[in-house]
């Protein structure tokens, strides 16, 4: 059964269906939610190239990320999807020799433009990593860390921590051990704590880099449910190797692949296709997408 059906029932009742007739039953909710062909972009890549030293990792990516939508980036290893994700909040700045050309626009403003503070960019555009990386601090301090370092105006930190943990569907599991080390939590709980930590600073966009790849299927399911809940408040971009995951939760999906240079053997990531998730999975327009989706390569 589709794990997201439950959480989406209310919104279905409020907004009567206007789904495309071709929709498969398992993907129905998605169509009901996102119908426009073009998203309202919160964040948008315009002709983005990313280089590491002289090596072009990704070329010519133009991709909008819709407001309060989940966009999944899928594709085989080495196709540059994580690289693109990291260029969306300037985490690539931390890599020696990395360079981003083109524009990444956040509400129309180029985050690589002059005078833009990468610190502020990262506060607005948060990131959850592949491996859960809680700080070696208490659960409480993990959540309070972001608001503290960004100097958020907080009336009561206790309330903020509780609210945030509730929103990250972790409160009931940790409310009696807030002062204990975050390392005592299970992997799935640690990852939800990392999500809580990210939403504590009230970002607009949450980037997730294969957030479930280190987790078991049940923990994965809970994170997916959480993402669908969070979608109402945040714009989410997720890189995933798991196509079923993209099919389950993403409103739109971008498929990347790697172009291999015949002479040098360099692999350069390119965007093949970007569309509604149902379209990508049921009726892709590019044969490479179809090959990947159906498991013929990758």
């Amino acid at each position: 059964m589709n794990p997201t059906d439950r959480t989406l029932e209310p919104s279905v009742k409020e907004a009567p269906a206007h789904a495309a007739p071709t929709t498969a039953p398992s993907a129905r909710w998605r169509e009901e939610r996102v119908t426009k062909d073009a998203p309202t972009p919160v964040l948008e890549c315009v002709d983005v190239d990313v280089r590491y030293g002289g090596f072009v990792a990704v070329r010519d990516v133009s991709l909008p990320f819709g407001h309060n939508e989940i966009t999944a980036l899928i594709g085989p290893s080495g196709c540059g999807k994580s690289t693109i994700l990291r260029s969306l909040n300037r985490m690539n700045d931390l890599v020696d020799g990395a360079r981003v050309d083109g524009k990444v626009q956040y509400w129309g403003q180029d985050i690589y433009g002059p005078g833009v503070d990468p610190i502020e960019v990262r506060r607005r555009i948060g990131m959850v990593f592949q491996k859960p990386n809680p700080f070696p601090k208490s659960i409480y301090d993990n959540v309070a860390y972001g608001p503290r370092v960004t100097g958020m105006d907080v009336d009561s930190m206790d309330d903020l921590v509780e609210q945030t943990l509730r929103r990250a569907a972790l409160w009931d599991e940790v409310k009696d051990k807030l002062k204990q080390s975050a390392y005592g939590l299970s992997g799935g709980q640690q990852q939800r704590l990392c999500i809580a930590r990210t939403i504590a600073v009230e970002p607009d966009v949450i980037l997730m880099d294969e957030p479930c790849s280190a987790l078991d299927p049940i923990a994965t399911l809970r994170i997916e449910e959480l993402m669908v809940e969070l979608r109402d408040r945040y714009t989410i971009v997720i890189v995933t190797h798991n196509m079923q995951q993209a099919a389950r939760i993403a409103d739109r999906t971008a498929f990347f692949t790697a172009d291999v240079d015949e002479t040098s053997g360099d692999r350069t990531g390119v965007l093949v296709e970007f569309d509604l998730t149902s379209k990508i999975f049921e009726n892709p327009s590019d044969s490479r997408t179809e090959d990947y989706i159906t498991g013929r390569f990758g």
Binding site: I119, M127, P134, V149, R197, T198
Partner: protein, 302 residues
């Protein structure tokens, strides 16, 4: 290959080696014995040293050693000023070297551009400084105090400067290693929340590195505690009959006191020297044990 041999050789037969393990051939045995002998010689030397010192000095390892001042009569002599002097000098050394060393390491590891020629030059030099004989640092301290116009160089701050310079490279290197052991994901997690580089260093990286830093620092301080050469160069006194009471106070330390006593003709003084040596060894072992405890207690959990 396997398809043709499986019919003739069972796996059981293939594992047997005619009763002679390849680990047991003569060359392996000779090599193992050589390794074992090397270890044995090292341990035997250490054991002989400790046991003979213990036999010599145990009789004088009493309260007088802690409470009495040096004296020309060995029965009344003690190492009280030397013990206090060591505490003063090592304490001051720690205050000078630890903040400087940690700050330098943080800069090199977290902020400096690894590819710049200047920083690579600095790195190579720190490695070299760690290998420089301690007496050179004594000369440096003498020169430094001379430039400042200090006539009597045998003062606590002078000795501390020499020892701090001596252990600074070691503190820097061990701090850098501790910082490097902090996973990059933690720094990225902090930066991704909108923390600045400085906040990340102060609140995440440094606290996570503290066990490693303290282990390295304690080991460096215990090295300084056993040093005599740079202090002798500063003109450290062998016979001090007062308690050091400040940074500008004259002083002696335990290694120097031991050195002084062994130069005396009377056998009783050598007994005293052995007793003081035992005390010094005891303190050093305690410091090293503390370093190990800290390392084990705060074992990395990531």
């Amino acid at each position: 290959m396997t398809t043709t041999t499986t019919t003739t050789t069972t796996p059981h037969q293939r594992l047997a080696t005619d009763g002679r393990s390849r680990e047991r051939n003569p060359r392996s045995v000779i090599f193992l014995v050589a390794l074992w002998l090397s270890l044995f010689i090292a341990l035997l030397t250490l054991l002989t040293l400790i046991v003979s010192t213990f036999i010599d000095g145990a009789g004088r390892l009493d309260s007088r050693l802690f409470t009495e001042f040096p004296s020309s009569r060995p029965q009344q002599a003690g190492a009280r000023p030397a013990i206090l002097g060591s505490l003063w000098v090592i304490g001051t050394t720690a205050v000078l070297a630890i903040p400087l060393g940690i700050a330098a390491a943080v800069h090199l590891e977290e902020f400096a551009d690894r590819h710049s020629r200047f920083n690579r030059f600095v790195e190579v030099n720190i490695q070299n400084l760690a290998a420089i004989p301690s007496i050179i640092y004594g000369m440096l301290a003498v020169g430094f105090l001379g430039l400042l116009g200090v006539a009597n160089k045998n003062i606590v701050i002078g000795g501390a400067v020499a020892l701090a310079l001596l252990i600074l490279p070691v503190v820097i290197i061990s701090t850098r290693e501790a910082l490097r052991a902090v996973p990059r994901e933690l720094r990225q997690g902090s930066l991704a929340l909108g923390a600045t580089g400085l906040q990340t260093t102060w609140r995440i990286t440094l606290p996570a590195a503290i066990p490693g830093i303290s282990t390295g620092t304690i080991l460096a301080l215990s090295r300084a505690l056993g040093e005599a050469a740079p202090l002798l160069l500063l003109g450290a006194l062998v016979f001090v009959s007062f308690d050091p009471n400040g940074l500008l106070s004259g002083f002696t330390t335990m290694p120097i006191q031991i050195f002084g006593w062994t130069n005396n003709p009377q056998a009783e003084f050598r007994e005293l020297a052995a007793a003081a040596s035992l005390l010094l060894v005891g303190i050093l072992l305690a410091m090293n044990a503390l370093a190990i405890v800290i390392r084990n207690r705060y074992q990395r959990r990531w």
